[in-house]
């Protein structure tokens, strides 16, 4: 394919939007890139998935450093869950051999819709404790950072939206490891970083505040996507010029989304994420419908 300048410009603009939303919600934006590539540019699905996987890495790496420095991304928890995710990604080939991807997509769409309802009905602030004496919103002083709640995986970060430190504990690690395994398993097949599974798992199962869940998912999805990206790239499925255009857009959009995320309230993020889950589920169901595989 010899892409025109117009197509490259469309993809770069789509990349800015996907990067901003992906960084804000902790999903990497792969779910926004695939429809643009397939429906607007006319790229075959497997090449669109390959491009999407590479752009997820761009979104993750563009904001992970900042999130780690601010403390919103929990590196220890992210790395622990990454064991299950990487294992899931490696086992992905086995899953693909036994189940058609369309059947998998149908199953996961059926899981995402109830998850969206649970996120919408959840009470704000569940699982988190705000510091009793909030510090100045303008200058978060690291020396005044409260000690994280007990436990090696607990965390604390400064939230400019509320003007205080937020501390939290991590609960139910084992089920979260199970979800991370599944997320890794399907990420390569569906062309997403698995953030749509990781953020609800971190927020609803582990009890992390939504901002920490999104930042930690963002930190993880780059590693998850890298495992699959090398496979796609080695097979020659990645279209260089098209991918470069989307990646450059994502590198501009992701820091904007991440910056915006610091100033919005958790409740807004939770609602936006629930909408994303519904949109992803619909996208999956449309693909199942068009592939002719019956929905289980």
């Amino acid at each position: 394919m010899d892409p025109s300048l117009t197509k490259l410009a469309i993809l770069a603009v789509a990349g800015v939007g996907a990067g901003a939303l992906g960084a804000l919600l902790g999903t990497g934006g792969g779910v926004f890139v695939v429809p643009v590539l397939v429906l607007v540019i006319g790229v075959p699905m497997h090449q669109a998935i390959a491009t999407s996987i590479v752009t997820v890495i761009a979104a993750s790496s563009a904001v992970a450093g900042g999130n780690v420095e601010r403390g919103t991304a929990n590196m220890r928890l992210g790395m622990t869950l990454e064991i299950a995710t990487a294992l899931g990604a490696i086992c992905g080939g086995l899953t693909a051999a036994f189940m058609p991807p369309a059947l998998l997509e149908g199953l996961f769409a059926a899981c995402l819709l109830p998850t969206a309802i649970v996120m919408l009905r959840q009470r704000p602030g569940e699982g988190e404790t705000e510091d009793a004496a909030p510090v100045n919103a303008v200058a978060p002083d690291a020396a005044r950072q409260p000690l994280a709640a007990d436990g090696r995986l607990a965390g604390a970060y400064f939230d400019p939206a509320t003007g205080g430190w937020v501390t939290y504990r991590v609960r139910r690690l084992l089920p979260a490891l199970g979800v991370s395994f599944v997320a890794g398993n399907v990420s390569g097949l569906l062309g997403i970083g698995g953030g749509v599974f990781k953020v609800p798992a971190l927020h609803l199962l582990c009890g992390m505040p939504i901002k920490a869940a999104a930042a930690t998912s963002n930190f993880m999805i780059g590693v998850t996507a890298a495992a699959s990206a090398f496979l796609y790239f080695g097979r020659g499925s990645v279209q260089p010029a098209l991918t470069a255009a989307v990646v450059l857009g994502v590198l501009i959009g992701a820091p904007i989304g991440s910056w915006f995320g610091h100033f919005v309230h958790g409740r807004f993020l939770t609602r936006l994420f629930a909408l994303l889950l519904v949109a992803t589920a619909v996208q999956m169901l449309v693909r199942v419908w068009t592939s002719g595989v019956p929905i289980p």
Binding site: L5, L8, V54, I57, A58, S60, S61, A62, A64, G65, G66, V68, E69, G71, M75, R76, M79, T80, E82, I83, A86, L87, A89, I90, A142, A143, Q145, R152, G222, V223, A225, A226, A227, S228, A229, F230, L231, Y232, F233, G234, R235, G236, V238, Q239, P240, A241, T243, A244, A245, V247, L248, L251
Partner: protein
């Protein structure tokens, strides 16, 4: 052992700079590659874009596609670098448990890359 806030910040900064360096270089290569491709200095995608030596040789010859692919390979390597930096950081802090966790993740990533390129 418990990590002090100073150690935490040092490790976080190392991760930040490791990622930023890789990303800036990758973005520069992508822009250069796109400009070369637009100027007509590009061949069709090589069959094995992950063979580094021919990729670098073609990039040095001004092949836009090869320069873009080199930028993409560097981009895909940044998360691997992130795991490596964290593992070394935790090792330096004698945090054996999480150094081991990083090593396991790094090993699995390498297995995946070798399977993918083999």
């Amino acid at each position: 052992m418990t990590e002090s806030p100073t150690q935490q910040r040092r490790l976080a900064r190392a991760v930040h700079w490791g990622l930023s360096g890789g990303l800036y270089l990758s973005a520069a290569l992508l822009v250069a590659g796109l400009m070369l491709s637009m100027a007509g200095h590009a061949t069709p995608t090589p069959h094995h874009p992950l063979k580094l030596r021919p990729l670098i040789a073609a990039s040095l010859n001004g092949d836009g596609t090869a320069v873009i692919n080199l930028g993409l390979v560097l981009l895909m390597a940044t998360p691997v670098l992130r795991v490596l930096v964290l593992g070394i950081g935790w090792l330096g802090e004698k945090d054996w448990r999480f150094a081991l966790v990083s090593l396991i993740v790094l090993t699995m990533l390498c297995v995946s890359i070798v399977w993918g390129t083999g």
